[in-house]
Amino acid sequence: MTFDAEALRKDFPVLVQDWGDRPPLVYLDNACMSLKPRSVIDAVTEYYERYPACSGRSVHRLATEVTLRVDRARESLARFIGAPRADDVVIVRNSTEALNIVAHGIGLRKGDAVLVSDREHNSNMVPWLVQAQAVGCSLRAVPSEPDGTFDLDRLQEALAPGDVRMVSFVHTTNLDGYTYPMREIAELAHDKRALVMADAAQSAPHQPVDVGRLGVDFLALSVHKMLGPTATGALWGEHDALGALAPYNVGGSTVANVTYEGVELLPPPYRFEAGLQDYAGMFGIEPALEYLERLGMDEVHAHDVELNRLATRAVEGIDGLRVLGPEDPALRGGILTLVVDGLEVHDIAMTLDELANVAVRSGMHCTHAWYKSHGLSGSVRASFYLYNTEQDVEAFANAVRVAVGILRGGA
């Protein structure tokens, strides 16, 4: 282990609470939502207790403090992803909102094509499908290899017709943790004059993400998956690309001037942040990112992979259990997705929760298209993060073994 995860647990109130008769919580639903450290909770509380005002409008000292904190949240996001300019970062509720801003804003037309991977979250499918229905553009899913990896030749084939306007790929998939070669994807797409968007909802919390190195035009992330307050996220856009987007949600705080005859919008990022915002959440962004930066993202990644390696080994040999995605845990980051032949995935998850206080995700994880195309009704997903320990992995594997035994009628 690269840092002392056990020592970090005291920073997360939910991990040290008394569960009474129940075993201690083993929280392995981090791909959905991360836990929040005390520093983030305190920052959110500080907003409500000391500065419950608006940002960017009023001139009193409460509002000025909120404006300064929002600026700091934006600057910390820019620093975290290696963005040269803070004003290229739009603060949003989540990656979904970021993807919608881009899908609606680039002005797709009939005949345009959008490429996605075949393992996209619905958030990187539905906005494009709605555009396809509205304007007559098309959406094509580029297939993965049977072993769960990605071959860039498939992307080249999909780009060949020359009609691709946007390549919007998940960076790390929430399905099985595989990370796509985004830099190479961006280079191939740019050679064909296509824009590139990376859905970094599952990569930014777990590994270094630098927009310059990735070479993409847009990047979406969810801060609530990286220790931040719930419903906080960001859209980063390359300066000119972001400026070329048409906002779909406008109103207060998005305008420089309004008359009865017309409107002059503010430049990005403000034109995309209409109306009063979740300022309490924004207060919590900076401490969340600082927490991660103190640990180091290379170290967080190494920790997650090590836990996944241990977990993969620990569940080996359980009757009928199969792990989805690449065989090598190092290619699956912090995500272990499994199915057990003949058992309902929700039954497994509910049994883990009931018997062992192990929290995992079950179902299709919002990647319906992939599951349906593979004839699967879902899976059980354990996702690890910086406060998970070897003891958590052991408790999870033991609980899976017991649950499978019970559900097979063997206990």
């Binding site: 229905q133 309902e344 929700h346 039954d347 509910m350 049994t351 179902g363 559900l407 009628g409 063997g410």
Partner: protein, 94 residues
């Protein structure tokens, strides 16, 4: 894409309101005794309706509200749902 607005749902698979869904499930469990998630899903489909959200998520909400009970039936090797007064033999999983 399927239009999910209330007026657009096919009459044969109407989504129940939360109140209707709770009443139907409690009635089913009172009438038929303990059931698995799949049995409840099939029973609602037979009636041309489905629960709000997915059946399993709706059931976990009802369990949290204590409107229904749920647990692992070790003899049958499955998760089952029941209501007070119609517990499985032995009073249900502990």
């Amino acid at each position: 894409m399927q239009d999910r607005s209330p007026g657009a749902q096919p009459a044969t698979n109407r989504e129940l309101t939360p109140q209707e869904g709770e009443q139907l499930i409690v009635d089913l469990l009172r009438e038929l005794g303990p059931m698995t998630t799949n049995q409840i899903t099939a029973a609602t489909q037979q009636r041309g309706v489905h629960c709000p959200d997915s059946t399993v998520k709706f059931l976990t909400k009802l369990k949290a509200k204590k409107a229904v009970l749920g647990g692992v039936d070790r003899q049958k090797g499955t998760w089952i749902w029941w209501v007070e007064g119609r517990a499985p033999p032995g009073g249900g999983p502990k």
